[in-house]
């Protein structure tokens, strides 16, 4: 027996490294604070920053693997120019000088001739405050990030209804919620805050209900899983609204005080004002007071009557919003029995959930002893909670009926009085904002060599704000803000390449993409996108003549570009998590953050934002040069500190003013970044208690937010059940007003621009029997992760998941190859069966199937060999129409409707994935693939140290 022998001395007290540097994670969009432990100048370990308000020290599976994404062999290593045909992967290395000179030459020619012939689109970009501004300075309206593909239904519905939105822009009050209802929540935004929140709810014994066709991730730990049929959430929500109205379990005082429920809507069928709010001569919206009759709705002591027709002084009739809304949902269309067949949710269950929501909201709610003053001037000594919190994401968003479904969900929240109250869903700062939060989109006039003033992605109030040319055609290449998608607040990236190749409505000279994997998982139809990228005109020139692409990694899209500008990893650059874009605020107060270089690149790469700023200077864009034409900013860090969007307002809100004492607004502070670094790379302000709740109607909050520059006016933000901008679009569709839609879109607009939410069956179903959706695996983020050797060990191929009974009924076996036929094409996949899925739905993990050659994958890797993309089955256009085509998108917002996919699944007969793609040839400069990775960061030391 071996006993008591001398053991090696364990290194129990070694420091984690030589140095710890804080920064902001970018393994997904969550923007957690991280600490990078460096040893010998290399990344040794990454963990969560315990002081950071987003993640409070925790870190997810992706974030913990950051070192391997940072060191990936799939990193691009230097600028490249294409020397073979597009898609061939034949590139030659060039210098940065040649790369920037080439880009400048191409771009300046476009700007001189017609700036809109530049289409500049970015992917999961966290620098839209810069990229959008740059595009406007260039003078092209053709800019957006990937929100049109992802989340715009939620953004638009929220911003036009309650002044804030779901996704990462709002959060449940985890401390007080007793009932948490999730709709289609994926595991990617907000990653760690939701995980932390769920554990708090669990610890407190709150009930968690997940409405989702698939029981994975958060749904797996929910107390109740409602495996709804995809795209029918609007019916379920409508039925809940109806049950609450019938049971008289709604917060009447909240509706009367803080929503437009009392506002009078003109009823003048066929008239030019039908559906608009009744207003007095001064333009004040009217309501009916119990004692005084028709008076302005903002009268402080209004005692509103919420039902009943009234006759306005001019003889027109009008009715309160509440009654119109109630009538919509009390109609038989939303009866639990009527919707059960479509949703798959029994009437008993719907009624029980409605009862539970009401009980959680109204019976014994928490009361916080916090005094505050509302916008009517009334002082309250406490604030009463409504501890029902909601959260919703792609399961609602990625459907063509998502905008209205999300609006219905906001109405459900309003009926429960569950907005920004203790226990409820709360907008994160800088929200709530006015409804809608800003002016219409800029870009109606485009002129050579001239910038566009204003925000390219704005907020239309009516037809007058659409971006249409003299012939009523879209001004934007993606057709956003046109009659096809009037509230396309995030643009429509999914239509850009097809429209550009088809010159619809005009040709694009330069397509400039930043980390948008359009030739693969970021397109609804990757094959058609590849065809458009490689299509040639009769004269032999490409239909899209110039393509510039920036990415840090060898994605599937690299091979299709003409000029590659290699970006750094997230640990090698500055970034700005800005209040002008997607900050890190919470319901408790605004915040922003920086990402800073913690290591130097070991390759010939440059941060994209820095390159963009240099291109801006080379092109002479006014905001990027000084009076004498020299570059205004040294680099991105210099821009972050010194750029002012309006006087005193810049990319970062913390430590402004020459001495760093100002918050929100103040002169640029040359020392600002040092202050951020000292504080862990973030800034945060906490609202004092009297400003922290009911902020849309909280006088002190509105004043403080205005003072800080978060909102332009301290006017009350009245939550909008009835949406007048939609009524205006509907009136145009019905023939009123100067701007008129083309005939072929009239009926569609009249139907979908309904001022109240409604449910409709998506157009693209195509008579196929099963719904098909994707889910986000927690250890991967979209297409990111395959370049990371740790993460791809967790998930390297995906299967098509189907309910056991459905598979049995179809005679299909676990593990066999099946043919998935959708309106957009056919995909071959391997089948897996389980119980945690709606019986009429199949699903798979998103973006795990990859193309060989991309991301450094060899041909035999599981990702191309067994993985698949469901995208190939998705139709990018709605069924053929006469003389025109419409994107497979929400008719109001242009949101890509890729969750509307319907499919037929049959036995394949032959194994192996289909469609198959030729492996991409790797560009020059890529290092050899290491056969073995010894993930051994930092200075070497023996793993077993000296013996005692």
């Amino acid at each position: 027996m071996l006993r008591g022998m001398t053991r090696h001395v364990l290194p129990l007290h070694d420091p984690t490294g030589d140095e710890i540097k804080t920064t902001t994670c970018y393994m997904c969009a969550c923007r957690c604070g991280i600490r990078v432990h460096l040893r010998g100048g290399e990344v040794r370990h990454i963990d969560g920053n315990p002081d950071h308000p987003v993640n409070r020290g925790v870190i997810c599976g992706k974030g913990s693997a950051g070192a391997m994404t940072h060191r990936s062999a799939a990193r691009l290593r230097g600028p490249l120019k294409r020397v073979g045909p597009r898609g061939s992967g034949e590139f030659a290395p060039i210098t940065w000088e040649e790369a920037l000179a080439t880009a400048t030459e191409w771009l300046s020619a476009v700007r001189r001739k017609d700036p809109k012939r530049l289409a500049f689109f970015t992917g999961r970009d966290q620098s839209q405050a810069l990229t959008g501004f740059w595009a406007a300075q260039f003078g092209t309206p053709n800019f957006a990030a990937h929100g049109g593909f992802c989340s715009v239904n939620m953004a638009a519905a929220g911003l036009y209804t309650i002044g804030g939105s779901f996704w990462e822009f709002g959060e449940p009050d985890w401390e007080h919620a007793r009932y948490f209802l999730m709709f289609g929540v994926a595991e990617d935004h907000d990653s760690n805050p939701i995980k932390l929140g769920l554990s708090k709810l669990k610890a407190r014994g709150a009930k968690i209900v997940s409405v989702n066709p698939v029981r994975t991730g958060y749904s797996a730990i929910a107390d109740e899983w409602i495996g709804i049929r995809p795209g029918t959430d609007g019916l379920f929500i409508g039925a809940l609204i109806r049950e609450l109205l019938l049971a008289d379990r709604v917060d009447g005082a909240f509706l009367a005080d803080y929503t437009n429920a009392p506002w009078l809507v003109i009823e003048d069928p066929g008239g030019a004002t039908d559906g608009l709010f009744a207003r007095d001569e001064a333009g004040r919206v009217l309501a009916r007071d119990r004692a005084r009759g028709i008076i302005p709705a903002d009268t402080p002591d209004l005692s509103p009557v919420l039902v009943g027709e009234v006759t306005l002084p001019d003889g027109r009739r009008a009715r309160p919003v509440f009654e119109k809304m109630a009538a919509r949902f009390l109609s038989g269309d939303y009866a639990p029995e009527a919707v059960a067949g479509r949703t798959g949710i029994s009437p008993e269950r719907t009624r029980r959930i409605a009862r539970e929501l009401a009980a959680a909201a109204f019976d014994d709610p928490p009361v916080l002893p916090i005094a505050w003053t509302d916008i009517h001037g009334r002082r309250h000594e406490s604030i009463t909670g409504r501890p029902v919190a909601m959260h919703a994401m792609r399961g609602i968003s990625a459907h063509a009926n998502g905008f209205h479904t999300c609006r219905a969900l906001h109405i459900l929240q309003m009926l429960l009085g569950a907005v920004d109250r203790p226990g409820a869903w709360r907008p994160k700062a800088p929200f709530p904002r006015p409804i809608p939060p800003g002016p219409g989109p800029a870009g109606s006039t485009v002129a050579p060599d001239a910038p566009i003033a204003g925000n390219l992605l704005g907020f239309p109030q009516g037809p007058e704000d659409l971006l249409l040319d003299a012939e009523n055609n879209p001004i934007r290449i993606d057709h956003a803000f046109s009659w096809e998608a009037p509230l396309a607040l995030h643009g429509m990236m999914h239509t850009v390449i097809a429209n550009a190749a088809d010159a619809n409505p005009y040709p694009i000279e330069v397509l400039f993409l930043f980390m948008a994997n359009m030739a693969w998982n970021s397109a609804m139809n990757p094959q058609a996108t590849i065809e458009a990228l490689t299509r040639k005109r009769a004269d032999g020139e490409y239909a899209i003549p110039r393509i510039i692409y920036s990415d840090a990694y060898l994605s599937e899209t690299v091979a299709y570009a003409d000029l590659i500008l290699p970006d750094t990893t997230y640990l090698e650059r500055w970034d700005c998590i800005s209040l002008l874009d997607r900050p890190i605020g919470s319901a408790h107060g605004p915040g922003d953050a920086v990402r800073r270089p913690v290591v130097k690149p070991d390759r010939d790469v440059r941060p994209f934002q820095e390159v963009l700023i240099e291109l801006g200077a080379r092109l002479g864009l006014p905001a990027f040069v000084t009076e004498d034409g020299s570059p205004r900013y040294r680099d991105y860090a210099d821009y972050i500190v010194h750029h002012e969007r309006s006087p005193g307002v810049g990319p970062l809100a913390g430590w402004r003013g020459v001495d760093g004492t100002k918050t929100g607004k103040g002169e640029p502070n040359p020392d600002q970044l040092r202050r951020y670094i000292e504080n862990g790379c973030f800034w945060r302000h906490e609202w004092p208690p009297e400003q922290a709740w009911m902020r849309f109607a909280n006088r002190a909050y509105l004043a403080a937010a205005k003072e800080m520059g978060l909102i332009g006016s301290d006017a009350p933000i009245v939550l909008q059940i009835w949406s007048e901008p939609l009524a205006k679009f509907r009136l145009a569709a019905l023939g009123h007003g100067e701007r008129q839609p083309p005939e072929h879109l009239r009926a569609r607009l009249a139907r979908h621009c309904d001022p109240l939410p409604f449910w409709h069956e998506p157009e693209s179903s195509g008579g196929l029997p099963l719904s098909a959706v994707t889910q986000r695996p927690m250890p991967m983020y979209h297409s990111w992760g395959t370049m990371n050797p740790w993460l791809r060990q967790i998930l390297a191929d995906n299967r098509l998941y189907m309910h056991r009974d459905t598979a049995a009924a179809l005679g299909l076996q676990e593990g066999e190859w099946v043919e998935v036929e959708g309106p957009g094409g056919r995909v071959r996949a391997r089948l897996a069966t389980h119980s945690g899925v709606n019986r009429d739905t199949v699903w798979t993990w998103n973006a795990i199937g990859k193309r060989a050659g991309a991301w450094r994958l060899t041909e035999d890797a599981p990702e191309p060999e067994r993985g698949f993309l469901l995208n190939h089955a998705i139709p990018e256009w709605l069924p053929t129409q006469e003389g025109f085509r419409l994107s497979n998108s929400d008719p109001v917002t242009g949101q890509a409707a890729w969750y509307d996919l319907r499919v037929r699944v049959t036995r394949a007969g032959v194994p192996g994935p289909s469609p198959r793609f030729e492996p991409l040839r790797e560009p020059p400069l890529m290092p050899p693939r290491p056969p073995i990775l010894r993930a051994y960061h930092g200075a070497p030391r023996p793993f077993a140290s000296d013996r005692a």
Binding site: S64, S191, D248, L302, A358, L857, H937
Partner: protein, 245 residues
């Protein structure tokens, strides 16, 4: 063969809450990050960009489906060394490389004298032992012994990397030999279980089983709502309702 200490002063281990684990793999990658660059490093990965990728992990997360239909649930089970009280992985070791510490019960491997014979892997029914082929030695969870006592780290951070990372706070670390410790109380409260105790190795780690789903008792309203059939027009109720500001 290698002998075990008679008793250990403490029984350090993990308590993992299966009720809140969402299967995010943070514990797995945080572990790989810490240990791959620490005293057990490297944790080799073979074929990192092609077929046959295979690496050394001290912590792996498995997902299972339990039950059928709407009542079924997906359960995520993180798996790592359970630091058993009487593990065969130690006693089968022919060189004495495998050992259990007398002071805290942590099972470790002395890589200097491990010959990579893999007998311990055969002996461990939990699959907790990992053979690092390029290095030619066995490796395993150390319970982050280089963190939990580490005086170079703030006291609050002296927990295993997996515990520190866990975003749902489903992982807890402590002395399971002390009935008064927080982890022991958690185990008592929640009916924590050992993994396959019938095998006789007396695992120290405990798993907290998924709780019964919360029911939300919707107490009847004080004034019971009328049945839908009793309401001719529900909107009429709002006519006389006073909603004054």
């Amino acid at each position: 063969m290698t002998s075990l200490p008679g008793t250990t002063g403490r029984k350090l281990g993990l308590v993992i809450d299966l009720d809140t684990c969402v299967g995010c793999h943070a514990c797995a990658t945080a572990c790989k990050s810490w240990n791959g660059s620490g005293m057990s490093g490297p944790l080799s990965d073979i074929n990192p960009h092609s077929a046959g990728i295979e690496g050394v992990w001290f912590n792996r997360v498995h997902s299972y489906e339990a039950g059928e239909g709407e009542g079924s649930r997906t359960v995520h089970v993180p798996r790592s060394c359970l630091h058993c009280e009487t593990p065969d992985c130690v006693t089968v070791c022919p060189t004495g490389a495998s050992y259990k510490r007398a002071e805290d019960g942590i099972v470790l491997i002395d890589h200097d004298i491990c010959i990579g014979c893999q007998l311990c892997a055969w002996a461990c029914p939990y699959g907790a032992r990992e053979f690092d082929e390029p290095e030619g030695v066995m490796k395993k969870c150390t319970l982050c012994v280089d963190r939990i006592y580490n005086q170079a780290m703030p006291a609050a951070e002296r927990v295993p990397a997996c515990v520190s990372a866990c975003p749902t706070r489903a992982r807890h670390f402590g002395d399971l030999g002390d009935p008064e410790s927080e982890v022991s109380r958690l185990v008592a409260e929640r009916g924590g279980v050992a993994l396959a105790p019938e095998l006789g190795y007396a695992p120290v780690n405990r798993y907290l089983p998924p709780r019964d789903p919360r029911r939300f008792d919707a107490a009847p309203a004080k004034d019971p709502a009328p049945l839908p059939s009793q309401i001719q027009n529900p909107l009429l109720r709002w006519l006389d309702r006073v909603l004054s500001r």
